[in-house]
Amino acid sequence: MAAIDIAEVSKIYTGGVEAVKSVSIDITDGELIVLVGPSGCGKSTLLRMVAGLETISKGTVKIGTRIVNQVDPAERDIAMVFQNYALYPHMTVYDNLAYGLRNRKTPRAEIDARVTEAARMLEIEPYLDRKPRALSGGQRQRVAMGRAIVRKPAAFLFDEPLSNLDAKLRVSMRGEIKRLQKRLGTTSLYVTHDQLEAMTLADRLVVLNGGRIEQIGRPLDVYHAPASTFVASFIGSPAMNLVKGTLEGSRLKIGTHTIELGYPAPAAGPVTVGLRAEDLRPAAISEQALLFRVDYVEELGAQRLVHGAVEDQELTVVLAPEMPLADELAITIPADRLHFFAANGKRLYRQATTGLASARTPTVNPEPAL
């Protein structure tokens, strides 16, 4: 168990392509950090640099108190779970688990004890004598986890470990990983492109885009106060609606509609306005309400995603399934649930209180809805 300190790490490939650009992350002991971002954002490269499978072009990676830039992957005291499991196909499950320990000259009795314990924990005891090809995807995934656990490493590295599983198994394995990680208390670095997986697993999220960190924070902080339009559109499903608007004093104009903010606007002039689909709610037709033209509806059972537009700007609204739909609806949003972004995509924080705190405090809608 150890803290991991990633300090200004860059990856520059021959040819000058910079996959990771001066990334710094402080991971405390026992924390589960999720690196999330679209494909090609450098998240896997960063993980592989920590593992030692890629060289570090610039910066330092520290595991515990030791700088590991030049340390052999096998000596870094880490264990990795790969996307396609990477089990040794010619070894039985038992040998797969024991391989790393045998190479470290662990006494036979100790190997046996650790493998048995890990197998019990992961419920793979009946398969210890089987070869990986005789296992299902979920069982292989467990063996891959077991191989990491038996080593009792300072840190676990997960490289999209669930993306080869079907949706149902993914949900249950997700829970299992979280439970195991908490129980073992091992520092973990987890890479995924699935924002839902990131939200549910992470102690802290690191959102990466184009090799740079867009935001680091606890899942809910990132959700409620995205630092940029990229984070806003990446975290949360359905994605946050981003529309063009204009701020004038304490008023927000979206098309021909005007919303009274009730607090001084963080900027003046044209901005990008972020509205979460679930913050939008139906209202009586009034000055404050936006006139929403319904385009099509996605039924999810528990809720309904209504896609449409306010004037020429597309929006998605989450509505209760029992609510009757018309071709045009009046919708409104509490003013404190609005997010503002400058032209460069960065979040505009409100004065007085910090954007983070105010966005997280659940405040009652000053406008009575309906």
């Binding site: 593992a51 499978l53 992957p73 096998a74 990795m80 996307q83 089990l87 196909p89 190479n103």
Partner: protein, 191 residues
């Protein structure tokens, strides 16, 4: 990498041509291998000395089969998933040990296939090389059973003896193949 793949073209050389090229390497007057051996005090005389002739035959036959084996081992190595090799790199520090415990076992299907191909090659396809090497030489040169079947039957006009030998040849090949599949394939893990 594409350049390396050109190596398989050597496989396209017909055995008699390979035999001829080999003969030049082992020529008394111009053969570079003969000169090289002479530095170490070894006077190679192909066609006169039984051992030297066998040596030349083996070198030429093996030389012709190396690229074929090389290509298959190369594709076998490329067939081992990178992530498995990386997982091994995290589990085992010593590269040599990793090779013995992970890479080589995963190459076993390729090696098994090549074993069968190479045994067949040694038994049958070396005919051309041997023919070129010993045809115009005095008797008592090393030859394979296949070549002896041909010599006795078509040069010596002993069809009966030749037929009997070919039956023995068939039994040998049969036993070898059964042995390979029964006892060696058992240690092979296909993915």
């Amino acid at each position: 990498m594409p350049l390396i793949r050109l190596l398989i073209w050597v496989y396209a050389i017909a055995p008699p041509v390979a035999g001829l090229m080999g003969m030049m390497f082992f020529d008394q007057h111009i053969g570079p291998i003969v000169k090289l051996a002479a530095w170490f005090g070894w006077d190679i005389r192909v066609g006169l000395d039984y051992f030297d002739t066998a040596f030349a035959m083996i070198v030429v036959s093996v030389w012709k089969q190396i690229p074929y084996n090389f290509i298959f081992f190369l594709s076998g190595l490329q067939g081992i998933p990178t992530s498995v090799r990386e997982a091994a790199a995290l589990d085992c520090r010593s590269g040599l040990r990793r090779f013995w415990t992970v890479v080589l076992p995963l190459l076993a299907p390729t090696a098994f296939f090549l074993l069968i191909i190479n045994v067949t090659y040694a038994l049958f396809d070396t005919f051309g090389v041997i023919d070129v090497m010993v045809k115009d030489k005095a008797a008592n040169n090393p030859i394979t059973l296949v070549y002896k079947v041909y010599m006795d039957g078509f040069r010596g006009n002993d069809l009966g003896g030749s037929s009997a030998q070919s039956v023995i040849l068939m039994i040998i090949v049969l036993v070898l193949t059964i042995f390979q599949f029964r006892f060696i394939e058992r240690r092979v893990h296909y993915n």
